[in-house]
Amino acid sequence: MVDLQAPLRAERVTALFGKKAAVKDVSLAFPANTVTAIIGPSGCGKSTFLRCLNRLHELSPAGAVEGKVLLDGTDIYDTGVNPVAIRRRIGMVFQQPNPFPTMTVYENVAAGLTVGRRVPRAELDAVVERALRGAALWDEVKDRLRANPLALSGGQQQRLCIARAIAPRPDVVLLDEPTSALDPISTQSIEELVQELKQEFTVVIVTHNMQQAARISDSTAFFYLGELVEHGDTAAIFTSPKERRTEAYVTGRFG
């Protein structure tokens, strides 16, 4: 069941807040160039699990992680692995658009590349343009690269955050309910964008919106009370789930 070729694999991951386990013993593989959706009711641990994949969870108060997360075969929790280097290879987009308000649109996209090193201007221009095109935002902001990002609409801000996350060309892109703060039209443009992203990246998206998971993902994992209940092809999960709890959730009987 566990795909050993997958560039990103979680093996028996348990995420703790102090003594309380928010994610319990989850193993899950994320194959390259696919979109994996993680669904489940509020508080089921899906966001916490996502934050284990780029070592962000350990920065939460009393946050700790057990188990392994393998990125191209290397456990990112091995002693001697620098979490900062890991996070450069795994981009993340959050629930609320969070562009850096002190930086221009351009500087936001460049932020992940310019941290701690100098990049020649011409090269940076090219990377910023490619990232903004990749986030389907270039045409809208190409004349406003020096503007305040907070002057953009919510949907544009979120696409700016996607551009910022993909500009350093990570291997994996994590999306934590990226459309929950957006209107339907912006949501649609982000969903279309996710389809584009998987051409280049391994994509993991947490969503509380089951229709969204059904529309945009290749495989779906259903979390409940911190456990991975079921994982499989998206079509199978939504039409013929093996577990009763999965069926109850996807048919809207609870959650």
Binding site: R88, F94, R146, A147, A151, R164, P168
Partner: protein, 281 residues
């Protein structure tokens, strides 16, 4: 017989009026002080006032050039020592001060913030003036630095705390090391507020008199050596206003006006310096 909603509207208006009244009462002393200073002080302001030192006791003429320069030097040296420490401590408390050490530092800062400034002056006298064997501008600047550190620490901490946590996470997720996320994202986002807090502190210490009485001491001559006693506007006002000569009183009013104007100038300059830098369109 008035309806319930009409009564509520009336009550709402009445309460709004009360808050407006309170605001006016709060502002009244400010305008009164300003008006008083301008009326009594403006007449002494001439070129001599800014470029000459006080005349000998009992004689007319003279200015407060020594006090103006002294204030700038002492406040400048004090700020150069106090601001970096205060801002650094505030950033530490906001970003890394969750543990016991943070709680201790925060508590001590609050205690020090409440300490009367004359006590800080005694502290500086004990630890700087006495070992050095003489009064000096430097000891006064140290006293002012000690006074401003807890103020700046607490305002800086508040300002950094106001920056949304999500910005730090965004930076960390992009592969920023922790300290870079602090410096480039959190502190930069909080910077206008930090600068405002710092300038309030600068303005506060510019007017301090008590801690300078037995450190900087005062000086009727023009001095720029921080190892010697020096005059400041606040000390000048204290000595001249309580002195017996009409000419001194006149200079004291002028000095008060200049001190007030300096403080205002600092505030205006700060606002200009922290304006946003975006181009739109």
């Amino acid at each position: 017989m008035i309806s319930r909603s009409a009564r509520r509207r009336l009550f709402s208006r009445f309460m709004t009026g009360l808050t407006l009244l309170a605001a006016l009462i709060a502002l009244a002393p400010l305008f009164a002080i300003f008006a008083d200073l301008v009326i009594r002080g403006a007449s002494s302001l001439n070129l001599d006032f800014f470029i000459r030192n006080p005349a000998a006791a009992g004689q007319t003429g003279g200015g407060v050039a020594n006090a103006i320069v002294g204030t700038l030097i002492i406040v400048g040296v004090g700020s150069a020592m106090g601001l970096p420490v205060g801002i650094g401590a505030g950033v530490y408390l906001a970003e890394y001060g969750g543990g016991r050490l943070g709680a201790v530092v925060r508590f001590l800062a609050d205690v020090l913030n409440g300490a009367p400034s004359v006590i800080v002056g005694i502290f500086a006298w004990t630890w700087v003036v006495r070992p050095m064997g003489h009064f000096s501008a430097l000891s006064g600047a140290i006293a002012l630095a000690v006074l401003m550190i807890p103020m700046v620490t607490r305002t800086t901490e508040e300002m950094v705390r106001l920056v949304p946590h999500s910005l730090r996470e965004a930076a960390l997720a992009l592969g920023f090391p922790r300290w870079r996320a602090t410096a480039r994202i959190m502190v930069r986002a909080a910077w206008p507020g930090i600068v405002t807090g710092a300038l309030v502190a600068v303005a506060r210490i510019a007017g301090e008199t008590a801690p300078l009485l037995f450190t900087t001491l005062g000086n009727l001559n023009f001095k720029t050596n921080v190892m010697q006693p020096m005059q400041t506007l606040s000390l000048q006002i204290y000595v001249f206003a309580t002195g017996p000569f009409e000419e001194w009183h006149r200079l004291a009013w002028g000095a008060a006006l200049v001190l007030m104007a300096l403080v205002l100038l600092v505030g205006v300059a700060a606002r200009a310096a922290t304006q946003k830098r975006f181009r739109n369109g």
